[in-house]
Each structure stands twice: as C-alpha cells, then as structure tokens.
C-alpha cells in the first residue's frame, strides 16, 4: 500500500469516527450548542459509539474490516443530512475568538509535531492501547483466545475505547498504523479545546484568557501524546457541561446526551467508569426532580448499558480485574496509613511553589481556588461543581490510598500527575461560571472590563 493510500484511508477512518459522534450529537439535540462544543463532542462521543459498534460486531460475527466499520456511519449521516441540517448564521468571529483559535491551533500543531515524529512503539501507549489495537485490527475481531493468552498482556483488562478506535488504522494498514494511530491523540487534544472553548462561550477577551489558562497548561501538553488522559479530561468537561444542562431542565434530550457522555467516559478508562457512576446520580436526581420519568428511565438505561458494556466483555473474556477487586475490598488499615501521603502529593502537584513544580503543574489551581471560592458564594451551579471536584479528588485519594505500600512511590511518579489532570475538569467549569458572572457583558449593553 502506498503512503498516500495509507494516509487517505486513515483520514477516512477518523472522519467516520468523528461523523458518528456528530450524527449522534445532532440527533440528540446537541446542535443547539456552539460549533466548538459540537466539534469537541463529536470527537469524544464518536469513539464511544464506535466502541459499542465493534462490540456489537464481535457479538454478531462481523469482521473488523474498514468498509464494514465506516459505511454504517457514512450511511446514517447521508440519510439524515438534509433532515437534520439546520441553517445557522455564520459565526461572528471577533478578535477574542480569533486570538483563542490562533493560540489553540499553534498548541495543537506543536503537539501534532511531537506526536507524529515518533510512532507508537514503547511503554504505556503499547501496553495499554496499541497492542490490543493490533490484535483487533490484524485478527479482524476481538480475538478472545489471543487476547486472553497474550505473552506479555500489558493492561488487557482496561476499557478499550482507544484500542478499538485505533484498531481501524491497524485493520487498514498495519505497517503505517503506528504512525497514523497518533492522530487519535491529536484529535483528543482538539476535542478538549472544543469543549473548553464551548464552556467559556461567548468568547470575550476574558473568556479567551480563562480558556488559555485552562487548557494550554503544562500537564495537558505533556500528557497529550502517549496517554488517554487528555481525552478523558475532555470527556469530564463535557460531562460537567451536560450535567448542568440536565439539572437546569428545559432541554428534553439533554439526559440522553449526558448518558452518552457518561458511557463514553466509562469506556475510555477505569477512572471514567468510576466518575460516570457518580454522574448517573445526576440523571437520577434530575429525573425525580423534574418528574420526567420516561425520558429519565431511557437515559439511565442507555447510560447503564454503556457503563456495563466493558465489565461484561471483561467477564466474558475471563480477564481479571486486580484494581477493581482491590477497590471493592479495600484494605482500610493501608488506606488510613497512606491517605495523608496521597493528599500531600496531590497538594504538591496542584500548588507548586518552585519553578520545576510550575513547569510540571502550571498555575491553574493557584488561580482557580480563589475564583472558585468567590464564585461559589454567588452561584449555585458552581457549588455543585465544587462538590464534584472534591468528590473526584476524594475518589483518587481512595484509589491511590489503597495501593500496595511498596507501589505508592512508583504511582506518585507515574500516575498521580495524570489523576490530578483529570480533576482539572471541575476548576475549568467553575472558571467558566466565574467568567460568565464577572466577564460577561453587563446589562446595559456595555462590554465589561474592556472585553471586546
């Protein structure tokens, strides 16, 4: 296969995955959002739907061949294009939005340069994702026999949204896939930029500054390549936004969109599954409070189906779940002894006081904490977001706190920074609330604070 054909095929794969998300988001009423959110959401929930599609194919015995994977989504988009398409006025691209788009574009290009310079060949990116992507893609299915008996199984028990989506590239051309599959990481980064820009809309100068502060940070840039954590962070930001929509009421299809995002989070990483379980509470509360039992039940059923999908596949494959087993039967004495060390480590990562610390962690939390305190006093939604933030941090303190004592230092070195990165979803959303309270145009129509 020539390089041009390999790259063209990869682009078709990514386009189909994105279109799958775009189609679902539109079908669930997400086209009310601004374009940035729609772009981000499409790049996030598309791979979630693809994961469900591929598990379905495995159950039905359909081979993982690119035409079979791509055509259903292209067909759906084609069939519904004219019906769903809404004529919207062209976006009003003012100077703040142009500035924000320029910064995010430069950052994306820098990350893409890093990503495509080095193919997937080593470390976590192979042991957590690409090895399984190659199994799925080169054996044209989930190959349960091979998957359960890999010589060096890596983290075969992890949810495999990333691997199943990257498998399209390995199914297309296994030779170039270690390079082309990098695109999935760059698209995760774009998704984060999209959903964050959407959270800060309308884009004023204040919103531009807040968005850059939130997403162009050292932890985001340094974890964009080789991991799924930036994608998970983006999913959490979208989850928080949609949860606010659901609780606000008035949007009949918002619960289904939230269910789709919860399912996507659960299929991305184990941490996503844990947070999605909490997110189901939002659906439950909204269903009871708004007395929309049919819609609520449908959304809860959709979320439960996606949440249970990977645990069911894992059980079917007979894969052990050491982390989940340990979390469900926690050694409380170990937790009591180690929790404070985890809290101290998180505090060190979140609130650096020296240059190496700032270069690793950035200064989002230094800015976000005072603003969160200020915003929470005035805004009920911000209080809920702050509660979610504390609960999320508490969950991670628990997860690391029950680790084997000998493993804790290694986990601090390898995982703690990325766990803290996931939790930045909540300060980002609180910052968005603060901007909407303090940075938005004032009631008399004048633009506040010099915002243009």
């Amino acid at each position: 296969m020539t390089l041009v054909v390999a790259i063209a095929g990869a682009l078709v794969c990514y386009a189909a995955q994105g279109l799958a998300g775009w189609w679902a988001w539109q079908a669930l009423g997400g086209d009310r959002h601004d374009r940035a959110t729609v772009l981000g959401a499409a790049l996030l929930v598309g791979p979630g739907l693809v994961t469900v599609q591929m598990v379905g194919y495995q159950a039905l015995g359909v081979p993982f061949a690119v035409p079979w994977l791509v055509l259903p989504w292209l067909g759906l988009v084609w069939a519904t294009w004219h019906r769903r398409r809404r004529r919207r006025p062209p976006p009003d691209v003012g100077a703040p939005m142009a500035a924000l788009a320029s910064v995010l574009l430069v950052v994306t290009l820098a990350v893409a340069l890093q990503a495509f310079a080095l193919p997937i060949h080593d470390g976590d990116e192979v042991n957590n994702f690409a090895l399984f992507a190659k199994v799925f893609g080169s054996l044209r299915g989930m190959a349960p026999e091979r998957l359960a008996h890999l010589m060096e199984p890596g983290h075969v028990e992890y949810p495999h949204l990333v691997a199943l989506n990257q498998a399209w590239l390995f199914a297309w051309d296994a030779v170039t896939a270690p390079w082309t599959a990098r695109g999935f990481e760059v698209l995760g980064m774009l998704a984060l930029f999209g959903v964050c820009a959407g959270s800060f809309a309308p884009i004023t100068w204040t919103a531009t500054a807040a968005c850059v502060l939130s997403v162009a940070s050292p932890p985001v840039l340094n974890n964009a390549v080789g991991f799924a954590d930036v994608r998970l962070l983006a999913t959490f930001v979208l989850l928080g936004s949609e949860a606010q929509n659901v609780l606000a009421g008035g949007d009949r299809r918002a619960p289904l969109r939230l269910a789709l995002v919860l399912g996507t989070a659960a299929l991305t990483k184990n941490e996503g599954l844990a947070v999605a379980l909490g997110g189901c509470l939002v659906l439950l509360v909204a269903t009871v409070r708004q007395r929309c039992f049919a819609r609520g039940a449908a959304a809860l059923a959709c979320a439960a189906g996606m949440l249970l999908l990977w645990p069911a596949v894992r059980a079917w494959l007979g894969l052990s779940m050491p982390y989940v087993d340990r979390a469900l039967a926690p050694p409380l004495d170990v937790l009591a002894a180690q929790a404070w060390r985890v809290v101290a480590e998180f505090a060190r990562l979140m609130f650096p006081v020296d240059l190496p610390g700032f270069l690793r962690g950035g200064l989002l939390f230094w800015v976000a904490i005072p603003l969160a305190l200020w915003t929470c006093r005035r805004d009920r939604a911000a209080r809920w977001l702050a509660l979610a933030w504390v609960a999320h941090l508490g969950l991670y303190v628990y997860v690391l706190g029950i680790a084997r004592p000998g493993d804790l230092q290694a986990l601090f070195r390898t995982a703690a920074g990325r766990l803290v990165l996931h939790t930045t979803a909540w300060p980002i959303l609180i910052l968005a609330r603060a901007v909407s309270l303090r940075g938005a145009p004032s009631r008399d129509g004048l633009v506040a604070g010099g915002d243009g």
Binding site: V103, V107, A110, L113, Q114, A117, L118, P119, H121, D122, G123, V126, N127, A130, L131, K134, V135, S138, L139, L150, M151, E152, G154, V175, P178, W205, T206, T208, A209, A210, V212, L213, A216, S217, P218, V220, L221, N222, V225, F358, L359, R360, G362, L363, L364, V367, P370, L371, L373, W374, R377, V435, R438, G439, S442, A448, G449, G450, D451
Partner: protein, 183 residues
C-alpha cells in the same frame, strides 16, 4: 466574609496575565519534547539511521524488517533477555511464544551492584517461571519443536547452544536475529 469581588477590569487583566504566564510555562516545559522531534523522526525513518538510543526504538526499526517474509500463520518463538520491548506488538498476527532469560548469575550480579533492585528481579524471575516464560533448556527444546521461526533479541543466551544445530540463520538487524527452524 467578603471574598474578592474584583472589578471586571481587574478580573480580566488578572486572568490575562495568568494565561500568558501559563502559556510561557507550558512552552518552556514542552520545548524539550518538541526539540527532540526532528531527531526522533530521523531515528525512526532514515534509511541508514544512526543506531537508535533505546531498545524500543531499535525494535521498531528492526522487527518488521527481520520478520519480513514470515507467513502470517507461522508460529514464532522470541528468545530475549530482560527486554523492555513488547515483542507481540511486532509479531502479530502470527502466533507467538516467548522465553526470557534471567539466569541466577544475573541476580548475583545485581546483588553486588544494585542491591535495591534484587527483590524486584527475584519476583520477576518467579513470575516468569510460574507462567512458563523463563528460559530453560527444556522449555527451549519443547518450544522450538512447536514453531517455524525463532527470533533472538540481544545477545544469544547460552541455552540456545542445545538447539543451535536446528536453527538456520535468515537475517539479523540491530541486535535482532531471525532463524528458520529446520527438521
């Protein structure tokens, strides 16, 4: 408690300064990875590259070339030392068996030079042995009887001598050698 009701202008200016500082920090922190990119690209793509610095990079350059022409259904045995390489990533879709060398002599050596790692290495050896992946003469003899090709990664282990007569060299590159198994 009156917590920080900043004026809109102070709020915007403060966020702007923080954003610029954040961008500078991110750029500084990300620059080493970005500056490495051209060299990484050369290591992975140049027709005659300087030898890549890591075992993983060498495996990426060498394994597809070493395995060229090996049929997709041919079972392959990989014999390696304590490599940090995920060999199955390269051998797939072919069936693969793995044997890793970790002789007692290496543990004795580690005890003299890196005693803090001895426990980890001993545990690793036990795990390999439990899973039948620890290289022994008997396991090697049995495994060679079940495969059509053998890849030796790194220096040849002494255990290979017992089956050497059955192995016909095919090609080798960057420390990875392919042998066809004869009768």
């Amino acid at each position: 408690m009156s917590l920080l009701p900043p004026s809109r202008r102070a709020f915007a200016v403060g966020l702007g300064v923080a954003a610029v500082a954040q961008l500078a920090l991110a750029g500084t922190s990300f620059w080493p990875a970005l500056a490495r990119a051209p060299q990484d690209w050369r290591w992975m793509t140049a027709p005659v590259p300087p030898e890549p610095p890591t075992e993983g990079m060498r495996a990426f350059r060498a394994m597809p070339e070493v395995l060229r022409g090996v049929p997709d259904d041919a079972p392959v045995l990989v014999v390696s030392g304590l490599a940090a390489v995920q060999f199955e990533y390269y051998v797939l879709p072919r069936p693969m068996r793995l044997l890793q060398a970790l002789p007692q002599a290496w543990i004795d050596l580690a005890r003299q030079h890196v005693p803090e790692l001895v426990d980890e290495i001993v545990r690793r050896r036990e795990r390999l042995d439990e899973r039948g992946l620890l290289l022994t003469r008997a396991r090697l003899r049995d495994a060679v009887g079940l495969v059509r090709f053998v890849v030796v990664a790194g220096p040849e282990p002494v255990e290979l001598a017992a089956v050497r007569a059955r192995l016909e060299p095919v090609r080798s590159l960057l420390g990875f050698a392919l042998y066809a198994v004869g009768p």
